[in-house]
């Protein structure tokens, strides 16, 4: 099977190292960024979700209209849109762009960001809600006749959609590192997404998810998110990494103001910070200094090295059972273009084989 590469879309320029200024939506920038991904050989781009950001459904639709083959992984937090409606939203986009949309379920790690959109439930409750949300979503996609559902969070009577995914189903990606997340994700996820931990951490987490998925007979696939910093030589890459760290430290106040999210309540963030506390570099070249500097509120660990070295480290993740790599840089457009080389190298090295299971 071929490795899936996912990049990231954004409606405005910026990163931890560049800061974020300018309007929230710059249509020309979005078009440039996603076409660059398509040209570089990415399969998909992630459209993220936070409670102050431009709406992802609209952005996803725009991306699909402005590219020809690129797919979208649209992040969605259950709890703000009725599940039957969310199902119809995804199915309608899929009807216009068959097979090009997937759902990334995130349950919300930050209470303050949830409260901005009116959700004041705690995290454990949120995961129970996510479970119901996904139960209903699937029935709205698949049920041939009107259905009823009575749960803790949602009541549906006569639920039915006239629009269905034309290729049968919409892939469900899922993120979350807590025990509740693993329980719910094991049941529902087609692809379980991890942030970039050292290989041993990924092996541990794959084992947890497989155990949770087994009772449901699910054959879950796995994704790892990383921030490659490649250059022509290893030394040049580390020089570049040092520059990025310095810029990130300068911009850190601005970044925190922009997103207002901390990683304090997120198990995934805590895991990254624990690795960062143990040392700046893990395995061959997994660099955690940016995670440490930013509080690891998001996917923030990097692979630093020559193109060949970074590609080799990406293949190391494939070797432990990962089949999707989400890679994004610190200079979004030029990195997306540059990653075309990494994508080619990884595909060459993994073309003829199945991912090896742990």
């Amino acid at each position: 099977m071929s490795i899936e590469f996912i990049g990231i879309a954004s409606t405005s320029a910026g990163s931890e190292a560049q800061g974020y200024s300018g309007p929230a939506v710059d249509p020309a920038y979005l078009a440039l960024l996603v076409r660059t991904h398509e040209d570089a050989g990415f399969d998909r781009v992630l459209v993220a979700h936070s409670s102050a950001m431009p709406d992802g459904f609209t952005v996803a639709d725009q991306i699909l209209s402005r590219t020809t083959t690129l797919k979208v992984l649209l992040a969605h937090r259950p709890g703000f849109v009725a599940p039957t409606i969310a199902a119809r939203k995804y199915a309608t986009i899929d009807a216009f762009h068959p097979g090009r949309i997937a759902l990334h379920v995130i349950t919300g790690g930050d209470d303050a960001d949830q409260a901005r959109d009116g959700d004041i439930s705690d995290k454990v409750t949120r995961y129970r809600r996510t479970d119901e949300f996904l139960d209903i979503l699937r029935r709205e996609w698949e049920s041939e006749t009107p259905f009823d559902y009575a749960g803790e969070f949602y009541q549906v009577r006569g639920g039915f959609s006239s629009v269905r995914p034309p290729l049968g189903r919409i892939p469900v990606y899922f993120g979350g590192a807590s025990a509740e997340a693993v329980r719910v994700g094991g049941k529902h996820a087609d692809v379980y997404a991890f942030w970039g931990e050292p290989l041993a951490g990924i092996i541990e987490r794959i084992g947890q998810v497989r155990a949770a998925a087994a009772p449901y007979g699910r054959d879950t696939r796995f994704s790892v998110s990383l921030r490659p910093i490649p250059a022509d030589t290893e030394q040049a890459a580390w020089d570049r990494a040092a520059d990025i760290l310095e810029l990130t430290r300068e911009k850190i106040g601005e970044v925190k103001r922009t997103f207002g999210i901390t990683g304090e309540a997120q198990v995934g963030s805590q895991r990254l910070l624990r690795y960062a506390a143990e040392g700046d570099v893990h395995d061959k070249r997994l660099w955690t200094a940016i995670a440490k500097a930013t509080g690891a509120a998001g996917n923030s660990t990097a692979l630093v090295g020559s193109y060949e070295q970074v590609a080799e480290s990406l293949v190391d993740y494939v070797n432990v059972g990962v089949s999707t790599l989400l890679i994004r840089g610190f200079d979004p457009v030029s990195d997306a273009r540059d990653y075309g080389t990494l994508i080619r190298l990884v595909r060459e090295q993994t073309a003829e084989r199945e991912p090896i299971s742990v």
Binding site: V25, D61, A82, P83, R88, K89, F96
Partner: protein, 364 residues
């Protein structure tokens, strides 16, 4: 005030007399593209994207319309209660930004049918729903305009630090349309709507209604714009237009009888006061004001707007301009032959409406 002409798009060919709402794929992308472009070329200002609890999602449909037209705006029908108002605000502002600005409006419908609400998980009663709509519209407007995070604590929604980084392109922002004729509806629409939507009732009742709604809005220190929905049936001669109306009625009758007690029929019924007013008008007489025809309304029972003006393009334009004189500035026109009618109306009806509106605005 300038005349605004709205059409309506669906994701497949369907009306009382054409195609099917139920059979075949729900989304016919090529048809929608052609339909949207036809509106753009015929000189429509905007198209309504409808809403029901089994239909394709209107925001996705609106995105497709905007991406495939140059100038045409959208009016996205939305039922409060299923998506947080802060999130809807960000959806609208994002779409407005990505489509160049000034092309996005939202129409608030509060749900005339309990069963359709329950399909999406809402079990609130009619009057409670309107109270929720009021709170929704208030938070929506605030999210679209607020320069700083705000808190809100109401009966239905509670927010801490609500904020959108994305705002509409133009200060006029996103117009808020509203429909509903019950007492509970009027209280909400008068306070929160920019444009109040009316079904195609006779001139006299419409004038009374406008006066009533203006008085209700004045209590909140507001002025409203009004929109009237009608289903024109035009032909080269008046006789030919009436003959066409009879054909439409015959086909509608045939389909209603064939559908019988089909369970799918329930998807399109309405218990709203607006629909009840139309049924009462249809029960009294079939034609008002020379050419406002309720033939289909009587056959289909309470549902969407189904009365239409029948005549030559000039006759229909003149009939609509009489509404313009009493305060209607927006017309929502959709046909029984959806795509063909749009193309046809671009030739004479719409130019005649625009020319007539200019005359109305000339000082006497």
């Amino acid at each position: 005030m300038s005349l605004e002409i709205l059409g309506m798009v669906g994701t497949k060919e369907a009306s009382e007399t054409r195609g099917s709402f139920f059979d075949g794929p729900a989304v016919d992308t090529a048809y929608l593209t052609r339909f949207a472009k036809a509106h753009d070329e015929a000189g429509f200002d905007r198209v309504l994207v409808g809403y029901s609890a089994v239909s394709p999602d209107g925001f996705a449909v609106a995105g497709h319309v905007l991406a495939n037209t140059k100038r045409l705006g959208v009016l996205i029908a939305h039922r409060p209660g299923f998506v947080q108002p802060t999130l809807v605000a960000r959806k609208l502002a994002t779409l407005d930004q990505l489509s160049g600005g000034g092309r996005v409006a939202i129409h608030h419908i509060t749900g005339g049918n309990d069963a359709d609400q329950r399909r999406d998980g809402d079990f609130a009663d009619h009057d409670t729903r309107y109270l929720r709509t009021a709170e929704f519209m208030s938070v929506l407007r605030r999210t679209l305009t607020s320069d700083a995070p705000f808190d809100h604590e109401g009966r239905f929604y509670r927010f801490e630090g609500a904020y959108s980084t994305v705002k509409p392109v133009r200060p006029a922002g996103i117009p808020l349309f509203f429909g509903g004729q019950s007492d509970a509806a009027v209280e909400v629409g008068a306070e929160h709507a920019d444009t109040y939507m009316l079904f195609g009732e006779p001139l006299e009742q419409t004038a009374e209604r406008i006066e009533f709604l203006r008085a209700a809005a004045a209590r909140h220190g507001r002025t409203l714009r009004f929109s009237l929905s009608t289903r024109p049936i035009i032909a080269d001669t008046e006789d030919a237009a009436w003959a066409r109306a009879e054909t439409i009625a015959a086909e509608t009758r045939r389909r209603v009888e064939a559908a019988g007690a089909s369970s799918k029929q329930q998807f399109h019924t309405s218990a709203s006061e607006a629909s009840a007013r139309m049924q009462r008008a249809a029960a009294r007489q079939q034609v008002y004001d020379e050419r406002l025809w309720f033939g289909v309304t009587a056959l289909t029972g309470p549902g969407g707007n189904s009365s239409g003006h029948v005549g030559t393009p000039q006759q229909v334009a003149d009939a609509l301009l009489r509404y313009h004189e009493i305060g209607v500035d927006t017309f929502l026109i959709r046909g029984f032959d959806p795509l063909d009618d749009v193309i046809d109306w671009g030739r004479e009806l719409i130019p005649a409406l625009r020319a007539g509106a200019d005359r109305v605005h000339q000082p006497a």
